[in-house]
């Protein structure tokens, strides 16, 4: 069954230079294993195709039921160099929540 991340997670994003960070937090502890299983580095790289031009890193924070993603080369140079409306990656969080995952689990 297809689930949009918005249903099972919330998120916050920010910037560090040209790198965007997206913290993805499960809405319930039982959803965290699904985030770990399906929201992989590859899946996130595909989702941000055309936005993220560098590598994607993923870190696990199980105590907060959260994953942290670093999207390198994403903010048009970052800071005051960037010409993007969202130069600081504030909306990368909701962009990730648009992602759909195909799960075998029931929710």
């Amino acid at each position: 069954m297809k689930v949009q991340l918005l249903q099972i997670a919330h998120a916050r994003s920010g910037d560090k230079g040209d790198t965007g960070n997206v913290g993805l937090i499960a809405r319930r502890p039982e959803y965290y294993p699904m985030l770990r299983k399906y929201v992989t580095v590859d899946a996130v790289r595909r989702h941000f195709d055309g936005i993220c031009h560098g590598k994607v890193e993923r870190f696990e924070i199980p105590n907060l039921n959260a994953l942290n993603f670093l999207l390198h080369e994403t903010l048009g140079g970052g800071g005051t160099v960037s010409l993007k409306n969202d130069a600081q990656g504030k909306t990368l969080s909701s962009a990730l929540l648009r992602m759909e995952i195909d799960i075998v689990e029931k929710i």
Partner: protein
């Protein structure tokens, strides 16, 4: 020793809600208030202001704020810690002293922390073979040396603690880590050791929660923003710290906003990299050890945080001039709003090319359609209106200025049903780029000066 202290967050950035620090001082009990004014680019703005007027170069908002809150903080003995001193902490102190005199306040002690500003020491440091290469790209400083606008070391809590120990009621620093403004009072009040890594780490985590103000108490809350009560009167976060290292995140009772596991979790994720290595001058905090527990309404307990030994380096934040940008916008209405905006963009680009202007980048976005989520965003069936937003960047200031003169003509010489050019021609603004690096701790020495009015 006090059995607990309450540290309030008053500002999360230069430009934050002006009533927040007043509410923190007046709407309930607090012992300390921290105010963070410095983003990465803020120092360069302040440096430019100081070059024009040597008495400036700090967060000017602080002075009218102090005029409002000084009588209350003196009466209630609330201590204020801020990095709003920017590139001129002593100038900031003098302005606060003048305000205190005007209000008839006597015996006020202000501590300043200086020594973070290494702009005048770059040649000396280079002679000592301290490279200050870009920690992200590995490039040497010589690439940008002649264009450096500001250069500051991120100090931690040590000099703030020293100022508090010398009796300062207000501590004004230059570049200091945001988190230090929160955990310095814990070290000062509870006598935590500089090698008590776990206690330092829990203080750092509390600092991370407080440093963005309302973003921890229901502002910018993605999980369920509609459920947050009374955002108009949002209460900023307060850390209630205990000598044992237990910390409760809360806010004043008669304020709006929300302190929940979810609001605090979101703030914990903000602008972090490797969660097991959150590096500060005093310790490395491990965010994968944080335990959060909702222990009451608008009360979240923070415990279990593990810390590790600090590094031998301070982070350095430098900024350098890197060309010019300008951004222009026009609004196109139905029918064919997007097609018209796209056509206008092409006409504009053709005219810029005909003029032979050189740009490092021309970027076009369609606000209302894709400026946030790019290709991830699906196109709606009917587009009522769209804002064409074109930005250019170049080292040729004249090219950027000319771009600004090519936007308005599109209204009478391009596709129809266009408006939204009330603001006048976009002007070139200087790009201040960011140069992060590291410096050995023994190469710089914070200096603390405490004076009384």
């Amino acid at each position: 020793m006090k059995d607990k202290i309450r540290i309030a967050s008053g500002q999360g950035f230069w430009g934050d809600l002006l009533t927040a620090p007043i509410d923190q001082v007046t709407k309930g009990p607090i012992d300390y208030m921290m105010m963070d004014y410095l983003a990465e680019v803020t120092m360069s703005i302040m440096q430019k202001q100081k070059m024009k007027d040597p008495s400036l170069g700090y967060a000017k908002d602080l002075i009218p704020l102090m005029e409002t809150i000084l009588p209350s903080i003196v009466r209630k003995n609330i201590k204020v810690i801020t990095n709003g001193g920017g590139v001129n902490p002593e100038g900031c102190r003098d302005a606060i002293f003048r305000t205190a005199k005007k209000l008839g306040i006597k015996g006020l002690k202000i501590g300043v922390v200086v020594g973070d500003n290494i702009l005048d020491r770059l040649d000396e440091l280079a002679a000592k073979k301290i490279e200050l290469k870009n920690m992200e790209t590995g490039e040497g400083l010589d690439h940008v040396r002649s264009r450096i606008v500001s250069a500051n070391v991120y100090f931690g809590a040590r000099p703030i603690v020293e100022a508090l120990q010398k009796g300062a009621q207000i501590v004004v620093t230059g570049r200091t880590t945001d988190t230090a403004l929160t955990y310095a009072p814990m070290i000062h009040e509870f006598g935590w050791g500089w090698n008590d890594w776990d206690k330092l780490a829990v203080g750092v985590v509390a600092g991370h929660i407080l440093e963005c103000g309302g973003q921890a108490t229901g502002g910018n809350f993605s999980a369920d923003w509609k459920s947050v009560p009374d955002l108009a009167h949002i209460g900023f976060p307060i850390a209630e710290a205990y000598p044992s290292g237990e910390i409760i995140i809360t806010k004043h009772e008669n304020t709006g906003g929300l302190v929940s596991m979810q609001t605090v979790s979101e703030q914990l994720m903000y602008e972090i990299a490797d969660p097991t290595n959150y590096i500060t001058p005093e310790c490395i905090a491990d965010f994968t050890t944080i335990k959060l527990e909702q222990i009451g309404t608008n009360r979240v307990k923070l415990s279990g945080v593990k810390g590790k030994k600090n590094t031998e380096f301070y982070k350095v934040s430098m900024s350098y001039a890197d060309g010019f940008t300008a951004i222009g916008t026009l609004t196109y209405a139905w029918p064919d709003a997007l097609e018209k905006a796209q056509a206008a963009d092409q006409i504009l680009r053709t005219r810029l090319a005909d003029l032979g202007l050189k740009f490092d980048e021309i970027r076009t976005e369609f606000l209302g359609l894709n400026s946030c989520h790019g290709p991830i965003a699906p196109m709606p069936d009917i587009i009522n209106e769209v804002i064409l937003r074109v930005g250019v960047r170049s080292h040729d200031r004249d090219a950027v200025e000319r771009f600004g003169k090519e936007i308005a003509p599109l209204i009478l010489t391009g596709p129809p049903a266009v408006t939204g050019f009330a603001g006048g021609r976009p002007k070139p603004s200087e790009v201040i780029a960011y140069w992060p690096s590291l410096i050995p701790k023994n190469a710089v020495e914070p200096k603390v000066i405490v004076e009384e009015v």
